[in-house]
């Protein structure tokens, strides 16, 4: 009982810190991002993690919603990449921010960042490209204050295609990093 309330206090403190952190990071990464977007950026809301919506609009709601949100793994667990790129697309920054918040609030949580490529090119070279993508996500999360000990990178290259076929659409759905908690 005693421990629980302490844990809750800690969680609230951490989640507040997270909100502050993601706002400033969002701003520094993309000058056009205003605070509203960076917070709502926890647009994880739009991306499916409804319970996170409203986080951080003010301290009070961050308190309650944050607890809820930080207790659950964000629902969006896949982000996609451009051809031959390992840079995080701006539309997915909010997803990473939500995962960063979750991981900071749940210090015992560990996640495997699974890097994937499309099937063009050789298998072992793609293994290396998939690792680059997953490392790019890892660095983003670390900048967000996630402990490296919570993160592991495993590249699958082109070995676990999400979609078969040689269409551009299939390729785009295969170039991804998945969060496996």
């Amino acid at each position: 009982m005693h421990f629980k309330s302490y844990a809750r206090t800690l969680a609230i403190a951490v989640s507040l810190a997270v909100v502050a952190g993601c706002t400033s990071t969002g701003g520094s990464r993309d000058g056009t991002m205003d605070d509203g977007r960076a917070n709502g950026g926890v647009g994880t809301g739009t991306a499916g993690a409804g319970q996170v919506s409203g986080t951080g609009t003010n301290g009070v709601s961050a308190d309650r919603a944050g607890q809820q949100a930080d207790g659950r793994i964000p629902e969006v667990r896949t982000i996609y990449f451009d051809f031959d790129r390992d840079t995080i697309r701006s539309e997915f920054e909010s997803v990473l921010v939500a995962h960063a918040r979750y991981l900071r609030s749940n210090g015992n949580a560990r996640v495997v960042l699974q890097g994937h490529t499309d099937e063009r090119g050789t298998r072992e070279y793609n293994m290396a490209l998939g690792e680059r993508r997953a490392n790019s996500v890892k660095r983003f999360l670390e900048v967000q204050g996630v402990s490296p000990s919570q993160l592991e990178v495993v590249s699958y290259g082109e070995e676990r295609l999400a979609v078969r076929g040689n269409s551009e659409d299939a390729h785009a759905q295969n170039r991804r990093v998945m969060f496996a908690y």
């Binding site: 050789t122 072992e124 070995e159």
Partner: protein, 429 residues
């Protein structure tokens, strides 16, 4: 029939199992215009019905090589079964240069194959031999005879008695099934050596043909394993943080080159197999992967994107020197050297996708050998005459092969699922 099942880290190992056969068939896609006309007359068999058509296996082998154009059976007016019975004029009239005749009989412990190779224009016997084959070795006997004929005519050692390893895969994403097989070079006698729900890739034969090194994700992390093909006994030999990939045996079989990213980015390492000691070969912020040994064991080739896109480099051991080998196009990867070390085979990206290409290392000239848009994983036959690779037919992965001169090609379609990652064994006899 021996079936051993071992649960090891959650993986099912099936050995020498006829339950898990997935033989590949062969479709010739292109015959060489320089092929030598030959006739392989159906072997007589004392009226017995045999489980295999030995002459047909020999004929198919010779045709697939691209070096021979066998005469169709319905064009044979005469069916001699020994050299004494050959009427040369008949075969000369059919423009046949070589003739193979023979006889198969049952022996106490299997079969006896007697064959003769005749030079039609010289009207002489070039080869003649009695071969004994065990009860289930009739195909092996036919491959042996094919090897002898191939070498007698071309001067090149035959590679029909070799094997191939390959990987099959079915499903997508989290719901997949992978298996590693070995089969005869003609796709027959397939045996599953490993099956897993997690990826299997990069099989590589040891130089003595007894072991396979490969990458398996069965622990949900990539690791390199070495497995005895005959017994199924195996060991995990590399499971560092990050990538453990692309194992390649040194020609003496004592070392494995591999790709590890434990120190930050993918680099080439060489492991002493018995001591497991590691030596780092490359140290570069770029991707370095897909190592392969030169036949003399003095250098390694590998893929690196240090110049931007992937190109193939050579690292001379002991010198620390890296030399770029490929300059044609912006994507050349997964190089393999011919047995004489003078020709490089690789995956080359053209305007029309990815093909298997050959580069003469002396002149630097690159020639595209394969024709589909999704060709990869070239592996060279131990006699250097053919390259087997992974290609696509419809939406399915199949194996293809092309002669080193590009003139002849064939495919090995499978009944189900994707087939990929072929590795041609060394000579086994």
């Amino acid at each position: 029939m021996k079936v051993i099942m071992t649960t090891w880290l959650g993986v099912l190992l099936l050995l020498a199992s006829s339950l898990a056969q997935a033989d590949l068939t062969i479709e010739i896609t292109r015959g060489s215009d320089r092929a030598t006309p030959i006739a392989v007359v159906p072997f007589s068999a004392d009226g017995e019905s045999l489980p295999e058509d030995v002459a047909q296996i020999i004929s198919d082998n010779l045709e697939r090589s691209g070096y021979f154009a066998p005469l169709p059976r319905d064009a044979m007016y005469d069916r001699p079964s020994s050299g004494d019975e050959v009427r040369y004029g008949q075969w000369r009239a059919l423009d046949v240069r070589y003739l193979v005749v023979g006889h198969v009989s049952r022996a106490s412990d299997g079969y006896s194959i007697r064959y003769e190779l005749m030079d039609v224009s010289g009207q002489r016997r070039m080869l003649g031999e009695n071969v004994s084959a065990g009860g289930n070795e009739l195909r092996a006997g036919a491959h042996y005879v094919s090897d002898q004929i191939f070498e007698a005519v071309t001067g090149i050692r035959g590679a029909f008695s070799t094997r191939i390893a390959y990987v099959t895969a079915q499903g997508t994403d989290q719901d997949m099934q992978f298996a590693l097989y070995v089969a005869d070079a003609d796709g027959h006698n397939s045996q599953q050596v490993l099956s897993s729900r997690e990826p299997i890739l990069s099989p590589a034969w040891s130089p003595d043909g007894r072991k396979l090194a490969y990458v398996s994700f069965e622990t949900e992390r990539p690791a390199i394993y070495v497995q005895e093909v005959g017994t199924g006994q195996r060991a995990q030999i590399a499971s560092f943080d990050g990538i453990n990939g692309a194992p390649a045996w040194s020609p003496d079989g004592r070392r494995l080159a591999m790709t590890l990213s434990k120190d930050g980015q993918p680099d080439i390492y060489v492991m002493d197999v018995s001591s497991r000691n590691l030596e780092r070969i490359t140290n570069n912020s770029s991707i370095d992967t897909e190592p392969a040994w030169a036949p003399d064991g003095r250098s390694l080739i590998f893929t690196s994107d240090r110049s931007g896109g992937p190109q193939i480099y050579r690292h001379t051991l002991g010198s620390g020197q890296n030399e770029r080998l490929t300059f044609t196009g912006n994507y050349n990867a997964r190089g393999r050297l011919s047995p004489d070390g003078e020709t490089l085979f690789m995956v080359h990206r053209s305007n029309n996708g990815f093909q298997v290409a050959r580069q003469d290392l002396g002149s630097g000239r690159l020639v595209v050998l394969s024709e589909s848009r999704w060709d990869e994983s070239p592996s060279v036959a131990p006699n250097g005459t053919m390259v087997i690779f992974a290609t696509q037919q419809g939406n399915n992965g199949v194996l293809g092969a092309v002669s080193a001169d590009g003139r002849a090609s064939y495919r090995l379609p499978s009944a189900s699922g994707d087939v990929r990652e072929p590795a041609w064994s060394p000579f086994l006899n």
